[in-house]
Symmetry: D2
Subunit: 360 residues, 4 copies
């Protein structure tokens, strides 16, 4: 199988470099282009010494000429950029028959009003947005195969939607309500989720040995989770999603604790079995054995997402862990690319590579 | 004012040493006795070098003779020991007219069945237990003044009960339900809460850069929180307490996120004002201004507990932080001692001492 | 004793806020003015919530008017600013009979050429520089008493000069060389030493679980250490100081390992005794018992500096720890102020306050 | 090429599990046996959840029967055990024509007196010891090919000997001394180097936000480094090795700063070029470009060791980083196995696998 060429737009942030790490070892991929405004002209391993011998691409500036060259040379373009960047380049790229995977937020929210409200921008290509596929393989695998543009999900929504899918699916095929209104997602993220930005509140001396909440009054991932529950999973009910994110003094890892309250009908079900059945064939989702609790260490640098289910009378607690930079971002983007390009879905992500962090 | 003599039983654990730190600077206290089985015969500053020049007491073994001497010499005895120790010595101490403050769990649960179920022991002095006062000054200040035995609250229950008090109080004086059933407490603790025990799961290499849940199937603080809500705050309703604790890779600090769902009657109230009013005269509880979110750093080494209230339609989120070793343990024990002995409640704990950790 | 008024110029950096922490509890001091360009108009506790109830000064901008007012109102002005700021204001302040303590570098290097070479600036008040006293109390206590301007030492130089003082003193009074040429200082600092600056290389995700060297080709503290050894301690020999700093993934703390090689004459001495004797009356320098090794934890938030001496044949290893923000910066500044103003040298810094971090 | 069978004795410590991580992906290896006293009968992924799907071997007890079975079934046996274990089994294993790679210390020190002095044991198979090869491929590659028993080097000695090799080699072929007596190695290690042992001093709450020295009075790696310099590198001079280890609050990573003082002849050489030339063909040793400083992050989870050389007049500073669990232990053991078995030396360790931790 010949190799495809890919470009990474925004190749110096944490998700961009994580893409380099994963794709530089992917057997069917050549990274042909990397862009960075701040580091243009420098070879990637000069800035990230551990990539010495792994990737020696030189960063280009994101000029029109470079983007045009990328459109001609590449099969897939990844945007690992702040919102607003991908939507300004995507129409032209898809006209050049290039597939686009956006790790930013430009194509995540289908509702234009919600997009404008949460991101403070008017969407510049609503027609492209309408065609974009929300790239959560566990719910949209078929659609991803033929997508032109993939909206790679946010990190929190990945944990929330996959943690809730067995519940919503079961509820949708039941006659009576199984859970009481309101879904509470108490989420905790490592600091790399905040990006590689020189901000005071992200300094080591501010965050180490400290734990905080943020975005309680409103976080951009709330409407994305809500869209996942209602539009994509098609929940018959109108449960509101309550989402409270917290910041953990660690680099990688995300832990979402989902608190649900069961009705009497819901209490009668065996949720451990339901979860196991829903995910039995999913290569990257593990349902832990009853009584086993997850930690973020166990998925460090891996594309796996692990779920524990705890049922106690009317209380259903779903605990979900992932590496926010892998299944929560760049690993999922590679998984999407694999599906899109007809590669094995685990290619470059499987146990033959897997997490390096078995022990510390 | 002459000084009182105090003993600390179990003076090498984190709460015991925190007591030494606080009491060695208390103007009305002399630490006359420290016990430790493992370190008997050694001076405290040999083991904890930062106490050099601060405290030079020699650890005694906890023999009958030593306990008898303590009973004669001391006004107050603190137990910073695993459960089971305090109850075996307390009857004799109170017979010697010594006040006992137990930082362990022996006198926390009034229900003997619950005690046996959660701690796996039969209680050896139920009559003493019946007289013991649960030492949460913000709800039991008057009772503490005349107590013989004080059960110093657990760290999680302190955050949960104080975070819920304004809600339960308001509910109790209302005609209609203000919150829907079930109280969800998603709590996060620094590692020192697990004590100074040589256990594999507490090693640096296991916990650093890692976040986990534990005790989801049942934690000893759940019945204690429930007792606080129902017996002490006297909740008219039978909301179940759901408590899920997590472990944060930091040394000190505790963050409890309490998720409540309001009825229409509950939605009509201004909870920010209610919380501010309830705690307006409490020296160690701060209700943060609307929109301000807490972090554990801001209470490091301090006896303050800070609460933020966020209300959004039917969602009421209460965020509580404290230092688990201070307001969650040893600081609260000193606060109880101050009340018990008629000292100023803030003595040795006030802003003139306060948290040392303004900056990192 | 009436209180003095002090101002802190640059009150939002780590050393500035550490000064607020220490001075707000000092019995003879009122903090009357704080300046900050970025936070002017805001009350200090709004930015640093743990100062709520401790200090409620509002930040002023550093305008001419404000500086003039400070000159009239204050007895002592602390500069916790980058180099270049203090020297532009100090001549006027001393004309107003205000004492200046500069925590920056403007008055540390007496050699104008060295100052220009290392700081890239021409000195604007060499006459003031000539009168300034290098504020290391353990070597300049008498001079500090009558100083107009005090150059508060750098953090690394404090550990190096105090770690070397007993060696240089002994050598100076000996007939023959005691140590072979070249003094090697291998130093390790917590991250707060790099300041509260929004720089990419200071982010949590860059520094956590990472250890690095920096400034190997030249660090501004090298000439300051060299000046200390040769000019202040008056070393008869011309040993070159070799200084290699490293960055440790912790917030506070500094550890300097000084490697010396003894001559046969040097080997004949008992260095443990020599160190103990030199520092026997120093309130803030502890020489650890033979065989005891220091850690940074034991001096966290304390103004103490601890020294261990290990002698093995011709190898003399001196290990020095301090809190870089206290004895390495703001605590030493308060110690200097105490000497300057005739207060007890330990006032506000003594064991009655001490380190809060006995346990974690 | 058919696969070889390997056993790992002591498969629950950090180096044992790191071997599992590396070998389970090695194309020419089947892990057929794992032993553990504490976890016998349990499947490895039950204890280390991230190995789920990667390795499903069940731990055996280390009984005579099991060891006999291993001797019959395996081609290579790795000992990841405390000293004393490997030497009691190795004679029998080599009689069964099994190759032994000991990650412990039983075969590192050729001098029996030194072994006894530092490890407090009498060696039980000095004849096997005499034949054992010190498995540092960069100096003993040829000997390793035909070894029966390989002593896998200690972590600190790996950095020290490889950091010194270009210096000693150059000195050995020179007429005059190039460096002054005494070699100073100031080393810093992550906590995993202390092993997975339930000890109080390794707790998170003891080590986080703390930096300390240890073993200053004598560390077992000192004679091993000395043996490397004098016996293996054949230094003509009698420089003493001074070794001071420190503990860094991070999990993985080792940083050794080697301080050398040059003679006039030594000053005349270009040490950057010398180092580059010595290691130009080594697959796992990188000499960094002039002026570039290493950090431990850049080799996390990788078998690479990186060296920076800084020369300033008579000061030569060599800075060496590695992952203590990979090049400092298990990765180097796999490298030794590759050489021993005639596999490509980089097999299972190359850039196609490499470090996973490009970014955090």
């Amino acid at each position: 199988m010949s190799k495809i060429n890919v470009a990474i737009i925004g190749g110096t942030g944490y998700t961009g470099v994580e893409l380099i790490r994963l794709l530089s070892r992917h057997p069917h991929v050549t990274i042909s282009h990397l862009t960075s405004r701040s580091e243009k002209g420098r070879v990637v391993s000069e800035i990230f010494p551990s990539l010495l011998g792994v990737c020696d691409v030189v960063y280009s500036d994101m000029t029109d000429d470079v983007m045009d060259e990328i459109g001609k040379a590449c099969d897939v373009v990844f945007f690992a950029t702040p919102h607003g960047v991908a939507m300004s380049h995507t129409p032209r790229l898809i006209a050049q028959r290039v597939k686009v995977i956006d790790l930013g937020a430009d194509f995540r929210l289908q509702d234009l009003g919600e997009f404008g409200k949460w991101y403070g921008l008017e969407h510049t290509c609503p027609d492209v947005l309408a065609e974009a596929v929300y790239g959560l393989p566990e719910i949209h695998r078929e659609k991803i195969k033929s997508a032109k543009v993939i909206a790679n999900p946010g990190c929190y929504p990945t944990t929330a939607i996959l943690g809730l899918k067995p519940v919503i699916d079961t509820q949708n095929s039941a006659d009576k309500p199984l859970i009481l209104p309101n879904i509470i997602i108490d989420a905790k993220s490592g600091v790399s989720g905040a990006g590689r930005n020189a901000k005071m509140n992200l300094l080591f001396s501010e965050l180490s040995d400290n734990f905080s909440a943020y975005g309680v009054a409103g976080h951009r991932h709330t409407p994305e989770i809500s869209q996942g529950v209602h539009a994509f999973l098609g929940s018959k009910f109108t449960q509101k999603v309550r989402f409270v994110p917290h910041l953990v003094p660690m680099i990688r890892g995300m832990f979402s604790t989902i608190h649900l309250t069961l009705t009497d009908d819901g209490k009668a079900l065996n949720w451990q079995e339901i979860f196991e059945k829903v995910y039995q064939n999913e290569p990257f989702v593990d349902v832990l054995a009853k009584g086993v609790l997850p930690d973020t260490r166990s998925v460090r640098a891996s594309n796996r997402l692990k779920i524990a289910v705890h049922q106690d009378d009317d209380a259903l607690t779903v605990l979900v862990v992932q590496d926010n930079l892998v299944k929560g971002a760049s690993g999922q983007a590679v998984q999407n690319m694999n599906i899109l390009c007809g590669f094995d879905e685990m290619c470059g992500l499987g146990v033959d590579f897997g997490g390096c962090a078995v022990v510390p």
